[in-house]
């Protein structure tokens, strides 16, 4: 109880001030019959060294750092400059809450304003919010925006969207009578425009496309935007690998109305899937339908520039059930990390990181395509992930790789039964040429046997 700072004497004095005999007297409003009769059956208290030991023991059961991994699929290993950790660990960033009182929160507010600006610069959108939980829930919130803006019952979404994102959408929309219609992909691994044209009608509120898509392929956003707009639908792009925007044409230049994405690549470790960073940006005409916190610039009573939470009449604490979303707490600290990361990488550095991803993934693709028994599944432009098809069972191949300290890619069979021999591989700037060569070498040996 190292952080309970009252002495026995002080407790006595305080009880006297209140006018009760004991601390127990303060709980008289709780009926006796529901009071707990036993002590909680939980372990502890553990001292600091015991606590560290306890968790180090659990961590050692993971054994994951010993392996070379080629997993991506919505969670990407990237370099994190040390100063991202150094700065973000400051108590001034970790231990305030939502900046309800702007005069005492200018740090968080200005950084969030900078974050919103960086996201707008990357996406080419007019407005960004202060963050949402993660990429999957951001995509759902974007779809809900389209649903409210258009007041129409259907949402089209491509099957090349991350399968877990699509599952989350199903969970959310089930109770809201929103019809989700999936659009299949073609032999190039991109959304099938013919099927899209067949399925779209004037009941569609929005179309959601992922790019780079789940197979790593860069979708033809401009064409799809045109189709969406010709039917009066909102065009939404979801981007789990936001780093790609350092190289790829920004959605704002491709006719996109709303961008939802995952900012984990910007300074957040893999962390077994969370906390990550939901990103949501849109055209300015839709700002009043946006969920979540938004920071705006204003002035104080002396005319000095300052920042506040704004447009709060959209939010649950004012509008209650008529709010644009139920969200309250978001991922502010993760957005701070992303802002620091993007500042460190800067204009040139971020592009170099993205470029190394493309170069290394391309090198890996070339090396793997030389191996008998491996086929590059889709011939198309990709960012840092691509799909390979094996002549043998990819799960067996992964087991064999693991024996040599390698975690291969994600087997796609579970999500796409028709891709039963396929695996999604991810190469980023953290992979050295040697790592890629080691993967190729091992696959060669495995496939020969």
């Amino acid at each position: 109880m190292n952080h309970l700072p009252l002495s026995k004497k002080e407790i006595k004095e305080m009880l006297k001030t209140i006018g009760v005999e004991s601390v127990e007297d303060l709980f008289k409003s709780i009926p006796e019959k529901i009071k707990l009769k036993h002590e909680l059956k939980i372990p502890g208290p553990l001292s600091e060294p015991e606590l560290i030991n306890y968790f180090e023991n659990l961590a050692s059961k993971n054994k994951s750092t010993e392996f070379l991994s080629f997993l991506g699929a919505g969670a990407y290993p990237h370099l994190i400059p040390y100063i991202v950790d150094y700065l973000s660990q400051r108590g001034e960033f970790l231990t305030p809450y939502t900046p309800y009182q702007p005069e005492l929160s200018q740090g968080t507010l200005q950084i969030t304003f900078e974050f919103q600006t960086l996201i707008c610069q990357l996406t080419g959108m007019d407005v960004s919010n202060a963050s949402l939980y993660d990429g999957s829930t951001a995509m759902v919130e974007a779809a809900l925006m389209a649903w409210r803006i258009k007041n129409k019952p259907k949402i089209l979404l491509s099957r090349t969207i991350h399968p877990e994102y699509r599952e989350v959408a199903k969970t959310y929309f089930k109770n809201l009578n929103i019809e989700l219609i999936e659009i299949n992909y073609n032999q190039n691994g991109e959304t099938d425009l013919n099927e899209l044209k067949e399925k779209i009608d004037d009941k569609v509120a929005g179309i959601i496309i992922q790019s780079p898509n789940f197979f790593g392929i860069i979708e033809k956003i401009e064409n799809i935007s045109e189709i969406a707009h010709s039917f009066g639908a909102i065009m939404i792009v979801t981007i789990p690998e936001f780093l790609s925007l350092a190289i790829l044409k920004p959605p704002g230049d491709c006719g996109v109305d709303i961008v939802a994405g995952e900012g984990q690549s910007f300074g957040l470790p893999l962390s077994f899937g969370g906390p990550y960073l939901g990103i949501l940006a849109c055209k300015s005409e839709f700002v009043r339908q946006m969920p979540g916190r938004i920071v705006g610039e204003t002035q104080d009573m002396e005319g000095e520039r300052g920042y506040v939470l704004t447009l709060s009449t959209r939010e649950q604490h004012i509008r209650r059930e008529r709010a644009t979303s139920n969200i309250c707490t978001n991922q502010a600290w993760c957005a701070i990390r992303a802002t620091i990361y993007l500042s460190v990488m800067g204009k040139k550095g971020l592009r170099e990181v993205a470029w190394q991803n493309i170069q290394k993934a391309n090198y890996a693709k070339k090396e793997l395509s030389k191996i008998d028994g491996i086929n590059i599944k889709f011939n198309n432009y990709f960012f840092n992930e691509f799909v390979v098809e094996f002549e043998k069972d990819p799960e067996w191949i992964n087991e064999e790789l693991k024996k040599n300290g390698i975690i291969g890619g994600l087997c796609l069979k579970r999500y796409y039964p028709e891709l039963e021999n396929c695996m999604l591989l991810c190469i980023t700037e953290i992979h050295k040429k040697n790592d890629i060569d080691k993967l190729a070498e091992n696959l060669k040996n495995i496939l020969v046997n």
Binding site: G91, L94, P96, T108, I218, G274, T298, D300, Q316, G349
Partner: protein, 481 residues
């Protein structure tokens, strides 16, 4: 104190850099991508050196108030101290570098952490099962309401309404709405608790659930909770508890004993994980037996000594976000629970309630207390007595900053006009509490003698009172040259 800092974009100039990438060690190729799908440089993106970046963010950090600096008595937010060792534990590389799709045998430690935390939260609340995946309290509410809906649906009952007391957090009605429900408000009685008579009038087979916060947002324990639970259950409806205020109850009573069917907790409140300026949080949801089948996928199970992720749950509401929630936040909460132990957690609740009552008693002659019922971990005053001098809650809050404190939650709960909702938590010293009390008393006096001082507050902060109306009217949501 730092008063001003330019935006990072205004500090930037061409050709500066703060990070050197390792040399590209594969043969570089041109024209990998078609020009038509590529962009030009990112216009306006910052370019600074490392030391400039350190200064920029350090200066900005100094414009933030935080728990590490002092009392942060936001009601219903439980701004307690976040133990530092828990941060270090969450940085262990085997947790940080763990990919969500690693093979199960390489994430046994992670799965064990999730399972142990679920079990400990079950013991603390008396619930039969927990999911740790909701990312924040409101996400937990949404998950909980979806579970309730799936439960009624499974019985082919199409219940349309959710009852919510008028003192509830705004997230409650919003979460119920996004689960497809209509909202009906239940008024509070003169004691500040749910009016059970009115509840009995409103309850029928169309009601899916009541969402209750206990202790409620006035800090008052809903002492008729058992009867409320019986009334609901007699019509087949469920009792949902918003666990935002669990910090008052640990080791003293449990939602199970109260007859609660579904609860969400906030690990960033009760279980000390840092609030991070507004997230990441974590909003685990606990349920009783009959609702376990509806919990989101995946579930963490154990077979032959090995943990695994179970997706074969046909009745589940489905997935509520990608992967497995805010895992690092869960680690910190588990570390907190283990470091406190059973006695420690009970002590936490006792001292949290003691501190709040000490503040209440010390201020009740200076500020109007609209509800006289006994309170637990928080108390709610109003600006009624200060209104006489033209002073509003906002003025009191802003003046408090000049005394070096973060203001309480203001203008909430909505049933109190001009509310000042104070939750000190257990991690404050008597000295800190006394200084806060002194400041509040002085402000009450200033309101009488020098109201202008309050109306023009704050005076000592990096910026003076900010014009929120202007921000909303003239939207500037990003920097431009």
């Amino acid at each position: 104190m730092i008063k001003k800092e330019p935006l990072i974009f205004e500090l930037s100039s061409e050709d500066k850099r703060a990070f050197q990438l390792p040399h590209l060690d594969v043969p570089a190729e041109k024209d990998i991508l078609d020009k038509s799908i590529m962009r030009e440089e990112i216009k306006g993106f910052p370019q600074l050196s490392e030391n400039e970046i350190i200064r920029h963010f350090t200066r900005l950090s100094q414009m933030n108030y935080c728990v590490d600096i002092g009392l942060y008595p936001l009601g219903s937010c439980t701004m307690k101290y976040s133990p530092k060792i828990n941060e270090k534990i969450a940085l262990i590389p085997d947790f940080l570098n763990s990919h969500p799709y690693f093979p199960e045998e390489l994430i046994q430690g992670n799965l064990e952490i999730l399972k142990i935390t679920e079990e400990l939260l079950c013991e603390i609340t008396g619930m039969d099962a927990f999911t740790l995946f909701p990312s924040a309290g409101a996400h937990g509410e949404l998950t909980g309401m979806m579970i309730i809906r799936a439960y009624h649906d499974s019985k082919e009952e199409r219940r349309k309404k959710v009852l919510i007391p008028d003192s509830a957090h705004g997230t409650n009605p919003a979460s119920a709405h996004f689960s497809g429900y209509e909202i009906e408000e239940i008024p509070s009685n003169e004691r500040g608790t749910v009016d059970v008579k009115k509840l009995k009038e409103r309850i029928n087979e169309d009601v899916a659930a009541l969402m209750i916060t206990n202790p409620n947002t006035l800090g008052v324990f809903e002492d008729e909770i058992s009867e409320i639970s019986e009334v609901l259950h007699s019509k087949g409806a469920l009792l949902y508890m918003d666990g935002a205020n669990l910090n008052a109850l640990m080791g003293i009573t449990r939602p199970r004993e109260m007859g609660v069917d579904v609860i969400h907790l906030n690990l960033h409140k009760t279980f000390s994980t840092p609030h991070g300026g507004g997230g990441p949080g974590s909003g685990p949801v606990g349920v009783r037996d009959k609702l376990i089948d509806f919990l989101p996928i995946p579930r963490i199970e154990k077979k032959e000594g090995k943990y695994f992720l179970d997706y074969n749950r046909p009745k589940s509401i489905g997935r509520i976000r990608a992967f497995y929630g805010n895992f690092l936040v869960v680690i910190k909460a588990l570390a907190y629970i283990l470091s406190m132990g059973p006695e420690g957690l009970k002590r936490v609740s006792q001292i949290a309630v003691l501190n709040s009552n000490y503040i209440r008693k010390s201020l009740e002659k200076f500020y109007y207390l609209p509800y006289k019922s006994p309170t637990l971990h928080e108390c709610v005053f109003s600006d009624k007595w200060q209104n006489e001098f033209g002073i509003k809650t906002l003025d009191i809050a802003k003046r408090l900053m000049d005394y070096g404190f973060h203001p309480p939650t203001i203008y909430f709960p909505l049933i109190v006009s001009g509310a000042l909702m104070i939750e000190p938590t257990e991690t404050e010293s008597k000295q800190e509490l006394d200084e806060f009390i002194q400041a509040m008393r002085k402000i009450a006096q200033e309101a009488k003698e020098n109201p202008e001082l309050l109306k023009s507050a704050p005076h000592k902060t990096p910026v003076r009172r900010l014009d929120e109306v202007r921000a909303a009217r003239n939207l500037i949501l990003k920097w431009s040259k």
